[in-house]
């Protein structure tokens, strides 16, 4: 083979390499494909415009330890005088940015997230409907009688008595003033 032939074979090889690189899927996708899929589902319900950071951090720790997916759920309440399927834009104006803030934080920590919205006549009713539709392995709630974002004590009793899932209730602590609120959303929302 003369020099020209060698150069031609070399150029052909380079071209084939470029083409192969171009047609094959990117490396990141292969890596993502090989990553183990989360199996456990942790529900993190809330009702207001802020949730306890302790509850949130507990959910993150457990999700990382158990390779679980966190499912934050905004529970919207439909007044009795309105049809149950009614749209709730005013409540969503508070709940949606908080869902966004939670998702942003979880994703930045590498925790898989899949949000839900529940709707019912009360927070408990919304939660009951959600639990009827889907299976969750664990539910994390903050005992929060002031209803700023958690569930009341009656709701927690009901949860313990009726729901067949592992339930983690975090005791409200006086020093637990740190909360994740809608102000945490990065960028305009």
């Amino acid at each position: 083979m003369n020099a020209l032939g060698t150069v031609a074979v070399g150029v052909l090889g380079v071209l084939l390499g470029i083409l192969a690189g171009y047609w094959l899927p990117p490396h990141g996708r292969l890596a993502a494909r090989n990553r183990p899929r989360p199996v456990r589902r942790i529900l993190l319900p809330f009702t207001g415009q802020a949730i306890s950071r302790r509850a949130f951090e507990a959910a993150v720790r457990l999700a990382k330890a158990e390779n679980a997916i966190i499912m934050p759920a905004f529970l919207a309440r439909v007044p009795m005088n309105l049809p149950i399927e009614t749209a709730l834009p005013v409540q969503c104006a508070g709940g949606m940015p908080l869902l966004e803030a939670i998702e942003q934080s979880l994703t930045s920590q590498g925790v898989p997230v899949d949000s839900r919205v529940g709707r019912g006549r009360s927070a408990r009713d919304a939660l009951r409907k959600l639990l009827q539709q889907e299976h969750f392995d664990r539910i994390i709630v903050s005992a929060d009688e002031d209803q700023r974002g958690g569930l009341g004590y009656d709701d927690l009793r009901w949860l313990l008595a009726r729901v067949p899932a592992e339930i983690l209730i975090l005791r409200p602590a006086p020093e637990d003033t740190r909360r994740i609120s809608v102000e945490a959303v990065r960028g305009h929302f």
């Binding site: 171009y22 047609w23 094959l24 899927p25 990117p26 996708r29 919207a76 007044p79 005088n81 309105l82 049809p83 399927e85 009614t86 749209a87 709730l88 834009p89 005013v90 409540q91 969503c92 104006a93 949606m96 940015p97 869902l99 966004e100 803030a101 998702e103 942003q104 934080s105 994703t107 930045s108 920590q109 898989p112 997230v113 899949d114 949000s115 839900r116 919205v117 529940g118 709707r119 539709q133 889907e134 994740i180 945490a184 959303v185 990065r186 960028g187 929302f189």
Partner: protein, 378 residues
């Protein structure tokens, strides 16, 4: 020009208010008197005084077309007499409460349909409407006020009005009127104050009414600017949308929820309707995870008051273009596309194809803020 009748269509002027008692009917009657004095042939087609003496007094001196009696399930109901109005054929007709539902047995189910006939006969119409009767605002106002308004009219009716006049009043002044017994009889005042006529309701309704009229003004101004220009034909071909209509392209994956929330916030800011569109491949089977995601998307759409549309097509761009034209979409939002591979790399990316096929429609790619580097943890 109404081609079928061969005569110019009448002009429609609507007095829009935030609630009963704002003074819409009163203002309509004042204008009726002014037109009468100016020498026009004016007739009251339908007036609802709701027992308000002030309103009834103002109606004196205006010629009126008598109501007709309609028998329905053993009850005699008084309704507007459309045939009599058309036969009387005044130059200007005053027809109160545009959103009213007629008794069965009349020509049309809704009063705005009667008004369409009157306009088509070349008669000008003055009418009244409360903002909560507009179809697109119904859910929003229901949640604000806790009262579901059953009588609604399509927004397009208001959009077609030649003039919309906002009858504005502060909530405090309206409550003052209510307490003074100028809106409802004394026995109904307490109930009204405890239900619909709360200051926060009225303030919210006032804001909605002001925004609605501002949008009407904007739409009319744009139309006026286009008349006579070379864009006129383009405007005539464009879908007739009232305000903005957003469409977000979704797939049954968890990340779609973020896109929906962002699209909803944009729709809220623009006071626009929101559609969600999922284009699935023909015969596509969904996995359990996808089924769950789709169900969650449906629930989210319902709570937000958005509409989830499902189309079957193997050409995503063509399906989106088709739906956008049908729905009068003005704004399309989409997330990051998956990296193309194989022959798909040679095709024009979806956003560019949409921009080419839908001139005049904004296309926005929604950023994934969770991937932004150096972001602070909340």
């Amino acid at each position: 020009m109404d081609a079928s009748a061969g005569q110019p269509r009448g002009r429609l002027k609507v007095f829009l208010g935030m609630a009963a008692g704002a003074g819409k009917t009163y203002r309509m009657l004042l204008e009726g008197h002014a037109e009468l004095q100016a020498g026009r042939d004016v007739a009251v087609g339908l007036l609802e005084t709701h027992g308000r003496a002030e309103t009834a007094r103002l109606a004196e001196g205006l010629p009126a077309v008598s109501r007709r009696s309609v028998r329905y399930r053993g009850t005699v109901l008084e309704e507007m007499d459309l045939p009599a109005i058309l036969s009387r054929a005044p130059e200007l007709c005053l027809i109160d409460e545009l959103a009213h539902t007629n008794a069965p047995g009349t020509e049309h189910r809704k009063r705005y349909e009667d008004v369409e006939d009157v306009l088509a006969a070349g008669i000008d119409v003055l009418s009244t409407l409360n903002v909560q009767h507009l179809e697109s605002l119904n859910d929003h106002i229901t949640e604000l006020s806790g009262v579901r308004v059953r009588e609604t009219i399509p927004d397009a009716i208001l959009g077609r009005a030649d003039e919309v006049v906002l009858i504005d009043l502060t909530p405090e002044a309206l409550l003052e009127r209510l307490r003074a017994g100028r809106i409802y009889p004394l026995e109904r005042i307490d109930a009204a104050l405890n239900n619909f006529f709360r200051i926060e309701n009225l303030a919210a309704l006032r804001e909605v009414a002001l925004r609605q009229v501002a949008e009407e003004v904007g739409a009319k101004r744009l139309t006026t600017e286009l008349v006579g220009s070379r864009e006129e034909s383009l405007a005539a071909d464009a879908p007739q949308a009232v305000g903005e209509r957003l469409m977000a392209l979704v797939e049954p994956y968890p990340r779609a929820q973020r896109l929906v929330r962002r699209a909803w916030r944009s729709a809220q800011r623009l006071g626009a309707e929101l559609d969600l569109l999922w284009v699935k491949a023909p015969g596509q089977e969904l996995s359990d995870d996808e089924q769950r995601s789709l169900s969650a998307l449906r629930q989210l759409a319902s709570v937000l008051g958005a509409r989830l549309l499902e189309e079957e097509s193997d050409d995503l761009a063509a399906a989106v273009v088709d739906v956008a034209c049908r729905r009068g979409t003005t704004y399309i939002l989409l997330g990051h596309s998956r990296p193309a591979h194989g022959l798909a790399r040679l095709r024009l990316p979806l956003p560019q194809r949409l921009m080419q096929s839908l001139p005049g429609v904004d296309v926005r790619i929604v950023a994934d803020r969770t991937r932004r580097p150096n972001g602070d943890r909340p």
